[in-house]
């Protein structure tokens, strides 16, 4: 023990991070992983309709999330559950979304994994690829025009770099010198399409040059590198120096979603090579070098998190479906005559049909 302590004192902690921070980072990564594992299992068991996870991308999420402040904004894709959790979106709220139950913030109006929380500056997620990129740029332009000291992090994958909104988002943010950080999580696949088919450019970070902003490629499985690069980008944004493009190079260790079978388009050898770079295992080694990790800690963390998730699932599953009337809320800020009529129509003519959900999930 004495020996380890001296080792720890000899090795300085990373800039600006306490031992407590490192453990928080680690636990947030484990939470993201465990949440994902359960999400897929729930879908396989037929208890929820759909799941899309982020296995292997935990460092990209927690490293970036750790580098921003509460007042900052997140415009994410559907593969950033860890960012939402780290920003404080309650686990129960996220589980309620997976089940689409009556306590779900959006009352089952969206598919699972499409989270939303205005309070946490976490924009409602779209399934359409890339649309949030230009919206994030717009948000950053708005913040700048108001003289506010906040930045926007917009997350997307390698497939989204081919979208119109990637181009317009990068271009608008560059032209307006907006405090926007473009976080490209290059997990190397857009469903089955590898990056090599997505673009002829060798390093995606090079695209930044065309928009007049710095582009930095980072090892996306090294959480401290991700954190450091994001922190610098956030500081640039706050100082009025404009946007930054971060390419976090990682690997989508799982399928695109619960509807996908990756064995159709990639080999197990390739996946295994990347699994050796698992960001959680790598960070475990770092923590160990600071004497912040041992088997007992690991067991305690895993058990604590698994229990939290199990409790959230139990509660979410016990909450009934939203009432049918909620179909008609939040289309507009008021009820239109057409919607009032259609609601009345369901009430009068279709209630007797006993419409049921057969519990089948075709996706």
């Amino acid at each position: 023990m004495t020996k380890t302590q001296s080792k720890q004192s000899a090795r300085a902690l990373p800039d600006g991070l306490s031992a407590e921070d490192l453990k928080l980072m680690y636990e947030a990564m484990v939470m993201t992983r465990e949440y994902d594992d359960r999400g897929f299992k729930l879908q396989r068991q037929g208890r929820i309709g759909f799941y899309a996870g982020s296995r292997g991308e935990e460092a990209c999420q927690i490293g970036t999330a750790f580098a921003m402040e509460e007042r900052d904004w997140v415009f994410s894709s559907y593969r950033q559950a860890g960012v939402a959790l780290h920003r404080g979106v309650p686990l129960q709220a996220m589980m309620n979304n997976l089940f689409g139950n009556a306590q779900d913030l959006v009352e089952g109006k969206q598919m699972p994994v499409h989270y939303s929380s205005c309070h946490h500056h976490f924009l409602s997620i779209s399934s359409v690829i890339g649309t949030q990129i230009i919206q994030g740029a717009g948000c950053a332009i708005a913040a700048k025009s108001r003289g506010d000291d906040c930045v926007v992090l917009t997350y997307f994958g390698d497939g989204a770099t081919s979208s119109n909104d990637f181009h317009s988002g990068m271009n608008f943010a560059g032209a307006f010198k907006a405090p926007c950080i473009f976080v490209l999580v290059n997990n190397q696949f857009a469903i089955s399409i590898p990056v090599s088919k997505q673009t002829a450019v060798e390093v995606l970070a090079d695209k930044a040059k065309a928009y007049g902003m710095p582009g930095i490629q980072v090892d996306g499985n090294d959480i401290l590198a991700v954190y450091q690069a994001t922190k610098e980008a956030v500081e640039r944004g706050r100082k009025g120096e404009g946007p930054t493009f971060l390419e976090l190079k990682t690997y989508r260790a799982g399928p695109h979603s619960s509807s996908d079978d990756p064995t159709r388009y990639r080999s197990q050898e390739e996946t295994d090579e990347w699994l050796a770079q698992d960001p959680i295992l790598r960070f475990q080694a770092v923590l160990k070098s600071y004497d912040l990790w041992d088997e007992a800690y690991e067991t305690e963390v895993r058990e604590r998190i698994q229990n939290q998730i199990a409790a959230a699932i139990k509660l979410a599953e016990s909450i009934p479906q939203p009432s049918w009337e909620t179909l008609f809320t939040d289309v507009y800020s008021y009820e239109t005559q057409v919607l009032a009529d259609q609601k009345k129509g369901i009430l009068e003519h279709e209630q007797g049909l006993e419409l049921t959900n057969e519990g089948e999930f075709p996706l």
């Binding site: 779209s126 717009g138 708005a142």
Partner: protein, 322 residues
């Protein structure tokens, strides 16, 4: 006295003065004051932070406006011609229209998209289209089309003060066609209610935008024959004022819808279906549509394509003779 264009400009000035969260963005809207001059003077008065000249990208303009609205601003983006709105269709339909619903009311995006639309200006098919029906088919959007300066100013103010997205389509053919007395004091025209331009007992004609003056000419000619035409200016296409439409049809027993978009699946079809569903027993004649043709919008022969007072007049005679 103001033209429709001056009324739009005046509404923008007053709303930007009233609420510093109102911002204008688009192509050439700043220093240049807009290609039609609708945003004239805003840049000098409110500066580049609130009147933003953007890069040339319609999806970018609308996507950025959504991000601004989510942040708490009240963006009024301009799409220079409605014909150029299609690159932004995804942002409008997938994002703008659904933001409130998909976030359970947690995020709202009260963006007011101003866009000049319609033919009669020798603009060919890329400066003349009437794409209103696409947007009426998208829950979450409100679609507003004024036909005169007074309504234009009052409706635009309502749109900017509201919490829901609006597609605000401006009939550019009549931007400068006539002047009208517009109240000096602050006023709004609510989104929703139609306006009965003139009462009549024989035929109801439903129309909007630049078609209102076309219908007026046909109705005037019919009046010479002793035929009494009721003209209903819808003003808001979505949500539609069904009650006013049905009350009018119940009175006259005959309905004609006039619009300049291609006839098939145009907005007239929705009105015809609504009347058929709810008031068919009152009808004395088939419901007729006088509309644009199912061709791309032409250049030289646009006067043949567009509903002409003579075509409207003929439809009046047809429903009366049935």
């Amino acid at each position: 006295m103001m033209t429709l264009l001056q009324a739009i400009n005046s509404a923008l000035h007053e709303e930007m003065e009233r609420d510093d969260r109102v911002v204008v963005l688009g192509e050439d809207v700043g220093v240049n004051g807009g290609v039609f001059r609708a945003t004239e003077g805003l840049y000098n008065r409110y500066g580049a932070d609130r009147v933003m000249d953007t890069p040339l990208s319609e999806s970018g303009i609308i996507g950025a406006a959504i991000g601004m609205a989510v942040y708490g601003l009240k963006p009024v983006p301009e799409i220079q011609f409605a014909d150029f709105i299609y690159p932004a269709f995804d942002q409008i339909v997938s994002e703008l229209a659904k933001m409130r619903y998909r976030s359970g009311g947690d995020f709202i995006s009260p963006v007011v998209i101003r866009t000049p639309y319609g033919g009669g200006i020798r603009g060919g098919h890329y400066h003349s289209q009437s794409p209103e029906a696409y947007f009426c088919h998208t829950p979450g959007l409100q679609v507003v089309i004024p036909s005169n300066p007074r309504d234009a100013k009052g409706l635009l103010k309502s749109a900017i003060r509201g919490e829901d997205p609006v597609i605000f389509m401006e009939p550019k053919k009549i931007y400068r066609a006539f002047k009208q007395e517009v109240p000096e004091e602050d006023y709004v025209v609510p989104i929703g209610p139609a306006n009965i331009v003139q009462q009549g007992t024989d035929v109801s004609i439903f129309c909007y935008g630049s078609m209102v003056s076309v219908v007026q000419k046909a109705a005037d000619k019919a009046a010479e024959e002793g035929q009494s035409i009721e003209i209903v200016d819808l003003r808001t296409l979505y949500p539609l004022d069904v009650e006013t439409i049905l009350n009018s049809v119940k009175k006259t027993g005959r309905a004609i819808i006039v619009y300049e978009a291609p006839k098939t699946c145009g907005y007239g079809a929705e009105i015809a279906a609504t009347i058929a569903e709810k008031a068919i027993e009152y009808l004395e004649a088939p419901i007729l549509r006088v509309a644009g043709l199912d061709t791309p919008f032409p250049y030289t022969l646009e006067y043949v394509y567009m509903p002409h007072p003579a075509r409207v007049y003929r439809a009046i005679q047809d429903v009366l003779a049935f």
